[in-house]
């Protein structure tokens, strides 16, 4: 057997086990809309932890983290900085969010905006923006999958058929098992990822330099400018670091799919305890950076930075091990992809189509149409991944800057009774427009500051001004009143 066959067999076995677990976990429950989207709201500490960890460790951490360390150097530290901080922010609003969600049976992020602000147009805008920002994120996972299979097959399988196969599996398991199936696949994925990250993170620097410390010492002597900001980039300095870390830490739980995860928990306390311990899970992330740093010295001049980890693994270890790393990587792309496509489909039907186009749709029909939309969105993303790969990175940055604009509406909505729907709507539209404009015209970073951060500040200013000028009356007879403050 050739190396490619061995590696691909290992990947296929891992994916098959993952798919089996997903189908099995979902098969034991009747799939109505509530079970499909929020797992019947019965997840305990462990399952919520698995679901959140499963969503957070995406292909970007695995391939992108090592890739940034390889090509950009110290600015990659922003990943290590925003991860603990986003849990700090989440800690402070998770309890309130869960309580409101539980009380009003919320399933999605636009549900929150409709119920809190009493506006179906705000709901529809949030839904549509959410779907638009998720698609490029989905595309990242898809492209990652393609890259993994291409490298693991030693170039024998082109990335297009590779993406086609893996996404058929993703769509199939979302279709049948919903969020519960996905949570259990995370178990396999996390064990594999932990094992491979620990192993290659220590073994690769050891193999070439005799240890992580010795590798870093060698790199600090050979390229000291790579190890402090702005690293090997012209403009990613300290002001960029601070604004980016703040923006991403705020926006992370504003991704519609992470936001929803808060509703799967059994209680608000489960979420808060999770937020306390989650930073520990980031401990494997620096190991990915060390692999990228080893590649700087061992494999200089790669044209595609995202290939640095897999190419180094292929060069250092036997084919079966490349297969295991590839399988872990494939699940790391498929679990978040499944969650993302599930969320986007639900948002599109439940919160955009129903309130605007067909108010009489029953929950039963929403669930059916959402499943059909899973196929449509998967196909759409495949199309973008195959035909528009160049614009991918810029689109993802727009996505992050875009979802961060939900933050003021959520925070003010949870903690202030005076905020009004018009102000939130105006701030949101301005923020999204400004962020998109700065990003799409290549003005990020703008004067050394993160463009999404600038848009977020404008958004906050507008909401605050609107609240001060026209505070919502406390006696206003909307549902907002019932939101605990």
């Amino acid at each position: 057997m050739t190396g490619a066959v061995i590696a691909l067999t290992a990947i296929s076995i891992i994916i098959a086990i993952g798919a089996f677990v997903a189908f099995y976990a979902g098969a034991r429950y009747k799939m109505d809309l509530e079970q499909w989207t929020v797992g019947g709201r019965g997840f305990g500490l462990i399952l919520v932890w698995l679901l959140m960890a499963g969503e957070i460790y995406t292909t970007f951490t695995f391939l992108g983290g090592s890739g940034w360390a390889y090509s950009k150097g110290a600015p990659v530290l922003y990943i290590l900085a925003y991860q603990p901080l986003m849990y700090v922010i989440f800690f402070f609003f998770a309890g309130q969010l869960w309580e409101v969600g539980h009380k009003h049976r919320m399933q999605t992020q636009p549900d929150f905006f409709r119920i809190r602000y009493g506006s179906k147009y705000l709901e529809a805008f949030v839904a549509l923006a959410g779907v638009a920002f998720i698609i490029p994120y989905l595309q990242i996972q898809l492209t990652g999958l393609g890259v993994i299979v291409e490298v693991a097959s030693y170039g024998a399988i082109h990335r297009v058929p590779a993406m086609l196969i893996s996404f058929t599996i993703v769509a199939a398991f979302v279709f049948t098992s919903g969020v519960r199936g996905v949570a259990w696949v995370s178990v396999i994925k996390d064990i594999l990822l932990l094992f491979t990250a620990l192993f290659i993170g220590f073994a690769i620097p050891h193999h070439y330099f005799g240890g992580i410390g010795k590798m870093l010492t060698a790199l600090a002597q050979a390229k000291p400018q790579h190890m402090v900001m702005p690293g090997s980039t012209p403009n990613l300095g300290h002001s960029w670091f601070i604004t980016t870390v703040l923006m991403v830490a705020c926006s992370f739980y504003m991704w519609p799919h992470y936001f929803c995860a808060a509703f799967t928990a059994r209680s608000g306390d489960v979420l808060r305890r999770n937020a306390v311990v989650m930073p520990l899970y980031s401990a494997t992330v620096p190991l990915m950076f060390f692999v990228g740093f080893t590649a700087v010295l061992v494999l200089p001049g790669l044209t595609n930075e995202n290939l640095s980890l897999l190419t180094l693994v292929r060069q250092t270890f036997p084919a079966w091990f490349l297969g295991i790393v590839g399988g872990a990587g494939a699940l790391t792309a498929m679990v978040p992809a499944a969650i993302q496509v599930l969320t986007a489909a639900t948002l599109f039907i439940k919160n955009f189509c129903r309130p605007i186009l067909a108010p009489s749709l029953s929950d039963h029909h929403v669930a059916k149409l959402a499943k059909a939309t899973v196929l449509f969105l998967t196909a759409l993303t495949l199309y973008f991944a195959i035909y528009r790969p160049a614009s991918l990175v810029s689109l993802l940055l727009v996505g992050y800057a875009g979802v961060s604009q939900f933050f003021p509406g959520v925070i003010f909505g949870l903690f202030s009774r005076r905020v009004n729907a018009t102000g939130v709507f105006a701030g949101l539209v301005t923020g999204v427009a400004l962020a998109s404009f700065l990003m799409l015209t290549n003005r990020d970073p703008f004067k050394g500051l993160n463009a999404g951060f600038i848009a977020l500040c404008c958004n906050f200013a507008i909401v605050t001004a609107a609240t001060l000028l026209r505070p919502a009356a406390l006696s206003e007879p909307t549902e907002a009143q019932t939101v605990p403050v």
């Binding site: 530290l77 410390g213 870093l216 605990p484």
Partner: protein, 76 residues
């Protein structure tokens, strides 16, 4: 669920200062600790110190009655 107390918010501010705002102070290679450049060592240690801060904040908010000095803990 009650609003977060001022004391727990201050505890939450600690990681922000250490990890984010103070970047010019710790973004350096030397002194290296356990072979790690100082900036890496610093951020990795805060992966472990952040849960300590947040655990303290959690304890504060779960048992606000034990901290009568915090005026916002009881009646929002």
């Amino acid at each position: 669920m009650k609003k977060p107390s001022l004391a727990s918010l201050l505890l939450g501010l600690v990681p922000f200062i250490a990890i984010c705002f103070s970047v010019p102070l710790w973004d350096r290679i030397y002194p290296t600790v356990f072979g790690l450049p100082f900036n890496f060592f610093w951020l990795i240690s805060w992966l472990f110190l952040t849960p300590v801060c947040m655990w303290a904040a959690y304890r504060l908010d779960v048992h606000p009655a034990k901290h009568p000095t915090d005026s916002r803990g009881g009646h929002p």
